[in-house]
């Protein structure tokens, strides 16, 4: 029987009505999910809204209102989602602790968390929203340098203090904006430490290193880091070949063939996010992975659950760790780690988790010491702060009272936490937690000898 292609008018009307409601339902669901994904996440205690309060004086209401702190984190691709989730978890722990024990000005802290997707344009839009719509008094977070470079301008334009947690680009602080503070290390300093480690491998551990391949990302973190690493390695007469990829690149097959053809003595991975997992595993599949050539994997590899899930052949990766090694944790760090383990199920806390945790506590202390939520007062308090955090004693010694010129230092040290400890650990067993990974460099923090592959 031939089907009727021309149904009756009544039937058509019924179908149209069905379709209308179906389309409307799908559109509604889509909107809900899209809205859920793009809306800032508000976490923390809100002021209780009671009937008696509604009649209270506006000043009293304000006195009880939560203090809003903005949080920037990459919570969806192409950003480093694992890093973003870590920042969020650590900051929530800090906010909960502060709200339970030590409220600044007696008011609860409210975190407004926004997703930057690791993209500068998304980061600046989120910052504008946090400042102009949500009315935050300070901001913390950010994982990607490109986001940090862009968002520092918004903070400066609006006079809102921002504490960067995991953005390493030197220019973020070297522009010397009063609003910008940083707990993360400087790109150039980390590159110098990487090169010192490579030099140590060559000169002390007896590894033959004449040529290093660098895989970097085309970002404000990756490009300067690769430049500096290249420059310093060349000073040591070590040749380099750099391959750069866009953030979000998945397929490295072509690059890996080129890396193989270069026959490197060591590989350094400066690509974050999923690329930090995809490259070492695809290299391992091709026979030039961490078990074949000494490889300094990206620091995202410290998130051991995600690392082993995505890089099952990643054993013997060297990973740079920022912050104190677990054996040197102070009480603040130990308490944080206990709570972090309970909430996330992870065995170890990444270095930037400690920095994220400290950033919120730092801002809360600055508000208390300022006695005000006025951003200018908070900035002044941050300049003079001495905070006992999980990273150690945090200060910003290069500031308006002791400028880089006066101190004879490079402008990059402006509002920079000067003392992050940098060590290199190595996974020496498949599935090992990063907290149990062997600390191989520097000698003062060494818990074991490095395993050198491919020699």
């Amino acid at each position: 029987m031939i089907p009727s292609l021309f149904p009756s008018k009544r039937r058509l009307q019924q179908r149209r009505a069905q379709k209308f409601w179906a389309v409307a339902a799908l559109a509604l669901l889509t909107l809900i999910f899209a809205a859920c994904a793009s809306q800032p996440e508000t976490v923390g205690e809100s002021a209780p809204a009671t009937e008696s309060q509604s009649t209270a004086a506006p000043a009293a209401e304000e006195a009880m209102a939560p203090i809003k702190i903005g949080v920037l984190a990459p919570l969806s691709a192409p950003g480093a989602v694992v890093g973003g989730e870590t920042l969020r978890a650590a900051m929530l722990i800090a906010a909960d602790e502060i709200n339970a024990q030590d409220r600044p000005l007696g008011r609860p802290l409210e975190l407004i968390i926004v997703d930057t997707e690791g993209l500068p344009e998304r980061g600046t839009a989120a910052m504008e929203r946090l400042i102009n719509q949500d009315g935050v008094v300070a901001i913390a977070g950010s994982f990607h340098s490109s986001v940090g470079v862009a968002t520092k301008e918004v903070a400066h334009d609006n006079g809102i203090p921002i504490v960067f947690v995991e953005t390493w680009n030197d220019t973020i602080t070297s522009v010397q904006y009063p609003e910008v503070f940083r707990l993360a290390p400087l790109n150039s300093e980390v590159a110098a430490e990487d090169v010192k480690f490579i030099q140590w491998l060559r000169d002390k551990a007896g590894v033959s290193i004449e040529k290093v391949v660098i895989l970097t990302e085309n970002t404000d973190y990756g490009i300067p880091a690769a430049e500096e690493t290249t420059r310093l390695l060349e000073e040591l007469s070590i040749g380099t070949v750099t391959f750069s990829v866009d953030i979000g690149t998945q397929d490295f097959a072509g690059i890996i063939e080129r890396v193989k053809a270069e026959n490197p003595d060591m590989i350094v991975i400066l690509a974050t996010g999923e690329a930090g997992y995809d490259f070492p595993q695809q290299a391992a599949d091709a026979g030039i992975g961490p078990q074949d050539v000494p490889t300094l994997c990206n620091h995202v590899s410290l998130e051991s659950d995600a690392f082993w899930r995505n890089v099952p052949d990643g054993n013997f990766c060297f990973v740079r760790r920022i912050g104190p090694p677990p054996q040197l944790y102070n009480d603040v760090a130990i308490n944080f780690l206990t709570e972090y383990q309970a909430r996330t199920g992870k065995e170890a806390a990444e270095s930037f988790a400690l920095a994220a945790y400290d950033s919120i506590r730092l801002i809360a202390q600055a508000i208390s010491e300022a006695g005000s939520t006025d951003p200018t007062e908070i900035i002044n308090a941050l300049e003079n702060i001495t905070h006992e955090g999980s990273l150690g004693t945090i200060t910003f010694p290069i500031n308006q009272n002791n400028t880089p010129e006066q101190a004879g230092l490079d402008p990059k040290w402006w509002h920079q936490f000067p003392d992050p400890i940098i060590t290199v650990v190595q996974y020496q067993e498949a599935g090992q937690d990063s907290i149990n990974a062997i600390s191989v460099y520097p000698a003062s923090y060494q818990t074991g000898d490095p395993v050198i592959v491919g020699q």
Binding site: P3, V81, E274
Partner: protein, 425 residues
């Protein structure tokens, strides 16, 4: 800072001028041939459908030495003539490149070239499978599905969760089958509810409706998956670890396998996950072709793609074919994802670049053409591999990966908008 000024961006062509002049030659004579040839053919009242494309390719190949005879003799421009001219263009391009950069790995290292070619073919086969689904949907429904990348993503997610989370240790085939069932079902339900009105003429502006509704589905699936599975990257274990083998036994010079790799003739090295993914793609391609050409339902699908009204008169229900085509297309995308979740880290957003690449492929192959989609996948895979392997500046070679596909798309739209196997518009 511009990339060109980076201190490590030092890999340059030795004789770049040779290559630059060759490109200028192609561009100039290609434009001259493409513009003037159709005018000459039209003045002589000759067939001009291939004149622009053919004139451009013939002009790019030998410039005035081929264009003048063409314009004087005005022979019928057929595919064979274009093919020969195209081969000449490729030959001149490769020669100019080799002369310009004799130390380039793509010139000096035969093993490297073969490995890159193998990489391109392997990934191209998988691209082709995904694009097949998109072109199948377009050929039957006349709809470009903007949710195709999300079906790809769901295929991978379902496979991962089935084999790693819900049924740890389950054979990969369980995950692959589950991904087929899930993506086919979503496609089926979506088509029945949202796309069926297109087939019965109830929608006044079907083109816009189809774009909006498939976009809506894409957003819904992406954020729904993110809400359920989080945005953390996941990855399935390799499906079938190879046994350790060497043929011949003492040297392995013909074939050598390790759990993660297969090496053929000591030259072509293919990682295990890519090899199994490409193998799966080929099996699925064969099954699809068998289905389309040897079953009544497959023939009915092809009939509807050729002439909807005539197929209806012959007793085929076009609406059912629409549903089947959309579900099957979604399943093919899901299957591509299922095979690649052991290769790449998998996220809810993983389908976006894959879908963009599929659009390039089906335009290259010809909208609605199944062989075109497969061939287009191979071409894109090989061009990406060649670009990544041969661009002299290592700092830029991989950064240009998304651009290679776009260059192909631009050239196809300029020179042959109907694609390699597309129907005349």
């Amino acid at each position: 800072m511009a990339c060109g000024s980076l201190p490590f961006a030092r890999n340059r062509m030795e004789h770049a001028a040779i290559f630059g002049w060759a490109l200028l030659w192609f561009a100039f004579w290609g434009v001259v041939g493409g513009v003037i040839t159709p005018q000459i053919y039209a003045r002589k009242d000759l067939e001009i459908s291939q004149a622009s494309f053919g004139g451009a390719v013939i002009g790019a190949a030998l410039g005035p030495f081929s264009l003048l005879p063409l314009w004087i003799a005005t022979p019928k421009i057929d595919n064979r003539m274009i093919g020969v001219a195209g081969a000449l263009v490729v030959g001149i391009f490769i020669t100019a490149f080799a002369l310009a950069d004799p130390d380039n790995l793509c010139v000096a290292n035969g093993e490297f070239v073969i490995s890159q070619l193998a990489n391109g073919i392997v990934i191209g086969i998988i691209y082709g499978l995904m694009a097949l689904g998109l072109t199948l949907i377009f050929s039957i429904l006349g709809v470009v599905s903007f949710a195709h990348g999300e079906f790809y993503m769901i295929g991978g997610m379902v496979t991962y969760f089935m084999t790693a989370e819900w049924l740890p240790g389950a054979p990969p085939i369980v995950g692959i089958l589950a991904s087929c069932v899930v993506t086919f079902s979503i496609g089926y339900i979506f088509e029945r509810i949202f796309l069926r009105p297109l087939g019965s003429g109830q929608i006044e502006r079907p083109g816009e409706y189809a774009i909006l509704v498939t976009f809506g589905l894409a957003f819904f699936l992406q954020y729904f998956t993110q809400a359920l599975a989080s945005a953390n990257p996941v990855k399935a274990q390799r499906f079938f670890p190879f046994p350790r083998t060497e043929i011949p036994l003492d040297s392995g010079s013909l074939l050598r396998t390790t759990p993660g790799n297969i090496t053929i003739l000591d030259t072509i090295s293919i990682p295990n996950p890519r090899f199994t993914a490409a193998l799966l793609a080929l099996i699925m391609l064969a099954a699809l072709l068998w289905f389309l050409y040897h079953t009544w339902t497959g023939k009915a699908l092809r009939a509807v793609s050729q002439d909807r009204q005539a197929a209806a008169v012959a007793g085929i229900n076009p609406n059912s074919m629409n549903t089947l085509a959309f579900s099957l297309g979604a399943m093919l995308a899901g299957l591509s994802g299922a095979s690649l979740v052991q290769v790449f880290s998998w996220l809810p957003q993983v389908g976006i670049p894959a879908a963009a690449r599929s659009f390039v492929i089906i335009v290259l192959g010809g909208m609605g053409s199944l062989p075109g989609a497969f061939l287009g996948g191979l071409v894109v895979g090989i061009v990406e591999a060649a670009g990544t392997g041969c661009v002299p500046d290592a700092t830029r070679a991989a950064a240009y990966i998304p651009a290679y596909g776009m260059v192909i798309l631009t050239l196809v739209l300029l020179l042959k908008p109907t694609g390699l196997f597309g129907r005349e518009l």
